[in-house]
């Protein structure tokens, strides 16, 4: 082979290899679009709110003591004023594509007063989850994902902290504490940043959306899943409501 041809071949191969290795493993997909459109979502429970269920915490003396004066109520159905349904996860199910960088700031999951705070978490795949034990009793943090790798770590010491990362996007999965069987949390990981959990007013704001048509899904632990379609032009704000029947 002529030296020049050889040189050209080597150069091309090297360039190709460099290009392949420099891309971050994800096939050169475009950076996902963002914009200034917003959807304000309200999640409502119609009909009378079910009675709050008190949780028995006598199995652990610390938990019993904490909740003697301040009883613990089940987090499964939490209803605010005017039927606002709290702790409902709302997110864009379809309509966005592309990669979005996961933030480096962690989401915190605290084990405090023998409950998980918060009860429902939406986070990005690859974003750190900082798990904290604020109680002077043993909790074990035991998420049960199907797509991601789970774990089960004992956290017997008050103030213990550990950080874990779920690398892959995954629909809602359960987190439990085996020591305290009433403790329950839910986590979902997303490939994009367009999600939120309904607050005490039952509202979620999905911001920085690009123009387009989106499938918006609401998930509730007890009342299930609902989907709505929303079309947005650039910079537009729309309001939608998910109504669950009690």
């Amino acid at each position: 082979m002529k030296p020049l041809t050889l040189l050209a071949a080597v150069a091309t191969t090297t360039a190709l290899l460099a290009h392949i290795s420099s891309s971050n493993g994800v096939a050169s997909a475009a950076q996902g679009p963002t914009g200034t459109a917003r959807i304000v979502v309200k999640v409502v429970l119609s009909g009378p709110a079910p009675p709050a269920v008190k949780v028995q915490t006598s199995a652990d003396p610390y938990c019993a003591k904490v909740h003697q004066a301040d009883p613990l109520f089940s987090q499964t159905v939490q209803v605010g004023t005017d039927g606002a349904l709290i702790d409902s996860l709302v997110f864009v199910k379809d309509g966005v594509s592309g990669t979005y960088a996961a933030p480096k700031t962690p989401v915190t999951l605290d084990q405090k007063g023998c409950v998980y705070i918060p009860h429902v978490i939406g986070m990005m795949a690859g974003q750190p989850l900082e798990i904290l034990n604020s109680d002077p009793t043993l909790h074990n943090i035991h998420p049960l994902p199907v797509v991601n790798a789970g774990f089960n770590i004992g956290m017997p010491v008050q103030g213990m902290k550990q950080t874990r990362v779920f690398q892959k996007p995954e629909p809602v999965f359960h987190v439990k504490c085996d020591v305290h069987s009433w403790m329950s949390a839910y986590v979902a990981t997303f490939a994009h940043p367009f999600f939120g959990v309904s607050n005490k007013q039952g509202t979620v704001e999905l911001t920085n959306l690009p123009a387009g048509t989106f499938q918006i899904q609401a998930w509730h632990e007890k009342y299930g899943v609902q989907v709505q379609s929303v079309s947005l032009s650039a910079g537009e704000t729309k309001q939608i409501t998910f109504t669950y029947k009690g």
Binding site: A59, D60, T137, L138, N140, I141, H142, L144, V146, A149, G150, F151, N152, I153, G154, M155, P156, V157, M160, Q162, D178, V179, H180, S181
Partner: protein, 256 residues
């Protein structure tokens, strides 16, 4: 036939026989899932099921349930909590069996049989192709088994709050014991540490691995974040002392 020809034929056929029975190369053959499938059908299928889902013919009649291989979740490992086991972890489980369960010790079988069946078991879960096992636990050498060590171990037992599930004397009667469920939703109980033999193996190192890596798929967590390696052996000694049985004190592997 001439004697020369006869000689050549005999030498030739002898050589053929020798070469046919000798290994083709110095290295062991790679494990074969195809041969492993034959092994599985002969030995494993009545408990672990045709689909590797732990729902074999005998599964309804035994507790704990046979392993469901489809999630890549395994109890007895040297890798971190949530991770796939090493192949050597699976080999150990198959070779030694699991005491107090119907999982037999397949030590009498050829080790190639075990390797082949592990290769077949790996075909039941896609996790073996998408994930890698984590770094195995490094176990420091065991210090002397002294009363002092046992006392220190008791302090560790209290600090880690093992009694929540295992009870103050290790009998599996802690306050949280009654509400435990495994990953598949089956009710389960904390191990009674006074029974003598441990399930995951009868040596101290096996016990060390249990609480440092946790048992995937069960409520038993890993305490690797809160127990220092130096303390861990003390805890092993303490747990061994909970059993009245002489055998629990011995670090000799008692082999079924």
């Amino acid at each position: 036939m001439s004697s020369k020809l006869t000689k050549r034929l005999s030498v030739g056929s002898a050589l053929c026989v020798v070469m046919w029975t000798l290994p083709a190369s110095a290295a062991d053959e790679p494990p074969s899932p195809r041969r492993g499938a034959d092994v599985y059908r002969r030995y494993c299928i009545t408990c672990h099921g045709e689909r590797g889902d732990g729902a074999g013919e005998f599964a309804p009649y035994t507790t704990p349930k046979p392993r469901d291989f489809r999630q890549g979740t395994f109890k007895w490992r040297s890798t971190p909590s949530g991770s796939l086991p090493l192949v050597s972890d699976l080999e150990r489980t198959i070779r030694d069996g699991v005491y107090w369960t119907v999982m037999p010790s397949f030590f009498p079988l050829n080790e190639r049989v075990r390797r082949d069946v592990i290769a077949y078991i790996q075909t039941f879960s896609p996790r073996w192709t998408s994930d890698q096992p984590g770094m195995p636990l490094q176990i420091p050498p065991e210090p002397a088994h002294t009363p002092d060590s046992v006392a220190k171990g008791r302090a560790v037992y209290e600090k880690q709050n093992c009694a929540q599930c295992h009870g103050d004397r290790g009998a599996g009667d802690g306050p949280a014991a009654k509400t435990l469920t495994d990953d598949w939703g089956n009710p389960t109980v904390p191990f009674d540490l006074t029974k003598g033999y441990m399930k995951g193996g009868t040596t101290g190192a096996d016990l060390y691995r249990v609480f440092m890596t946790g048992l995937n798929g069960t409520p038993m967590p890993s305490f690797v974040e809160s127990i220092a390696p130096g303390e861990a052996w003390d805890l092993v000694h303490y747990i061994q002392s909970l059993s009245a049985s002489q055998r629990a004190h011995s670090n000799q592997q008692v082999k079924p």
